[in-house]
């Protein structure tokens, strides 16, 4: 874009600009980590200081830093016990809400992978009447946000609850709602991944005596595995991060997901910023680690979805 003689200088300038932008992107994250390791004494200081490392004599003294894990202690609330571990974690967030979120995210992601794998394959391999119309409708539905249907879903939930079905509770309904909302995008992503697998492989398998269904299971599914993995991860993260449906569609507090736990926590700890920060870190950390290790998979799924939607 620029003349050759200036290219090296430009590269330096661009790198510096990008490093600054990255720092800006990370500042809110970094300050939250900092806050989570402060003690109460340093949280309620006026004016606030960035690092808890000042002494009456100097503004910054690395040896005087008062780092503290008080925030984490109050979120986890460890109690001594004589089980397998010498302590148990009794904080509501780790005891109730994070396991709930894990259950919702895993079961929704598995369901979505299963359903979108099947229908994505059909859309990719077969030409049938109404195919194009269905694909376009699914694409259109992909854009529909949860919010506008929420009121109707809430009333549906109330009506079903009133019917007192055996074995039914709000968890089932919430997983169904999440599945319905994250499925359309996944169908498109799955179709894209199946489109990339050459048809000839299956045809060869069928000629060699495979049924179409077992060709799907034995040939296409393994090849599509990275794509299905991407759908799993994307759905998992989406469900983990979802707040409003988990908050409104589930009646009992002990069945609500982690984002609700965090919101509830925010109301209980107005001044104790270190506790809130620690709770945020504990809930966001699994997802951030997952993202860093599987970023290629995420980007693949995202671009597949972004090109269409």
């Amino acid at each position: 874009m620029f003349s050759i003689s200036r290219r090296r200088l430009d590269a330096w300038m661009i790198n510096i600009a990008l490093v600054i932008i990255c720092l800006f992107a990370l500042i809110p994250v970094a300050t939250t980590v900092l806050i989570s390791f402060k003690g109460e004494r340093d949280i309620i200081r006026k004016p606030p200081n960035i690092l808890p490392c000042d002494t009456p004599e100097s503004a910054f003294d690395p040896s005087a830093c008062r780092w503290s894990v008080e925030g984490y202690q109050r979120v986890l609330a460890p109690r001594p016990s004589d089980g397998l571990l010498p302590f148990t974690l009794t904080g509501n967030i780790v005891r109730i809400y994070i396991p709930n979120s894990f259950m919702y995210a895993t079961s929704t992601a598995l369901l979505v992978v299963f359903l979108s794998g099947m229908s994505g394959y059909a859309f990719s391999r077969y030409r049938f009447r109404g195919r194009q119309a269905m694909l376009v409708s699914i694409l259109a539905i992909t854009g529909v946000p949860l919010l506008t249907n929420l009121l109707a879903l809430y009333h549906m939930g109330v009506n079903i609850r009133r019917a007192q079905l055996p074995f039914y509770d709000d968890r089932l309904f919430l997983v169904a709602v999440y599945t319905g909302f994250f499925l359309p995008l996944s169908v498109w992503i799955a179709k894209g991944f199946f489109d990339a697998i050459p048809r000839e492989l299956e045809e060869a398998a069928v000629i060699d005596g495979c049924t179409p269904f077992s060709a799907l299971l034995r040939i296409s599914m393994p090849l599509a595995l990275p794509g299905l993995m991407a759908i799993f991860l994307l759905t998992f993260v989406n469900v983990w991060n979802e707040f409003i449906a988990g908050y409104l569609l589930v009646a009992k507090n002990e069945l609500k997901p982690a984002m609700f736990g965090l919101y509830e926590f925010l109301g209980q700890n107005i001044i104790n910023l270190q506790v809130i920060a620690a709770a945020c870190i504990l809930i966001a950390l699994p997802i951030v680690i997952l993202f860093i290790f599987a970023r290629r998979t995420f980007f693949a799924a995202m671009m597949e979805g972004a090109i269409k939607g």
Binding site: L115, L151, P212, L248
Partner: protein, 314 residues
């Protein structure tokens, strides 16, 4: 001969119906969770809750919704929010994409780092930004509340009310909390938009840019006359997707401002929550949900049209 013929038939029929069986579960789930509730919302918006059941009231819910002062105010807040949010995100996203659009050794690292905000839940982003401006104790409050830097009294983001309006009742200039909400939302949306724009930018061929360079165009002229026109469909898609997300994203409002101070960050999506779940005005809430849904559908259909046109032109 005969035997193979007989054995083949049911298998063929199953084979012909295979795509149907594969798609059926998906269609059932989508009908139950997406399509049925949409019609149910329409039904709810035309009825009113009475002690003995639901009464048909026609468009009464809509009329009562429009008569509410909060409704007009929320429309204003939503417009201010959307204009600020889309502009800020698109401009910053375009600039960052422009910087990333070279062969740099560290691009992979930059993209990974820049993407961290996108993976964090909106409710957590709201809390993280809230922690920075908690009155007196937040790290930014030390600067923002300092009267020497922001005369006359300093700014307290979470408690300062909206300055007097410039145009009648329209909420502009917005409250500091609204500006802060826009910044926090943009921070979270930036990675996705940046990557979307970067992908579109990489499809613009280098030859066009280099030949215009030869003809003496400067960097700004290349952006203005080549990149922006060629990327226009993507820019519009990005604008629509931001508008959709901004109109319907409610988590950040919940955790960052809770609609306050006063009602200064009460956007339509938050009003829907207030009407439907804290005031239990189901009819009016359904009317509002339907209005938001209509805007959503218009945006979705427009996006579909644009992507179709783009596909045809390629």
């Amino acid at each position: 001969m005969q035997r193979t013929e007989i054995r083949r038939k049911p298998r063929n029929r199953f084979r012909n119906l295979l795509p149907f069986w594969l798609i059926l579960p998906t269609v059932v789930v989508i009908l139950a969770i997406q399509v049925y509730p949409a019609f149910y919302t329409v039904w709810l918006s035309l009825h009113q809750r009475q002690p003995r059941g639901w009464d048909y009231v026609g468009v009464d819910n809509f009329q009562r919704l429009f008569r509410m002062g909060v409704f007009g105010e929320s429309v204003g807040h939503t417009i201010v929010f959307l204009i600020g949010y889309t502009t800020l995100t698109l401009v910053l996203g375009f600039i960052i994409a422009l910087l990333l659009n070279r062969k740099l050794k560290l691009s992979g690292l930059y993209i990974t780092v820049l993407f961290v905000p996108w993976i964090i839940a909106d409710i957590i982003v709201g809390i993280v930004f809230r922690l920075l401006v908690v009155p007196d104790y937040g790290l930014l409050s030390g600067i923002l509340q300092n009267p020497a830097i922001f005369p006359p009294n300093g700014i307290s983001v979470l408690t300062a009310s909206r300055p007097p309006s410039w145009f009648g009742g329209f909420p502009f200039p917005p409250a500091p909390a609204m500006i802060y909400l826009i910044m926090a939302s943009a921070w979270r949306a930036l990675p996705f938009i940046t990557l979307l724009l970067l992908a579109a930018m990489q499809t613009v061929s280098n030859e066009i840019i280099e030949s215009s360079r030869m003809d003496g165009a400067n960097g700004w002229q290349v952006v203005r006359h080549i990149l922006i026109p060629l990327m226009l469909p993507t820019l519009v898609v990005a604008l629509f997707s931001l508008t959709l997300g901004g109109m319907n994203g409610v988590g950040m409002v919940f955790s960052l401002t809770g609609g306050g101070p006063g009602t200064s960050t009460e956007v339509l999506s938050y009003l829907l929550y207030v009407l439907g779940w804290s005031q239990l005005e189901f009819g009016r809430a359904a009317a509002l949900a339907l209005l938001i849904a209509v805007v959503n559908w218009a945006l979705i259909l427009a996006t579909l049209r644009i992507t179709r046109v783009e596909e045809r032109s390629h």
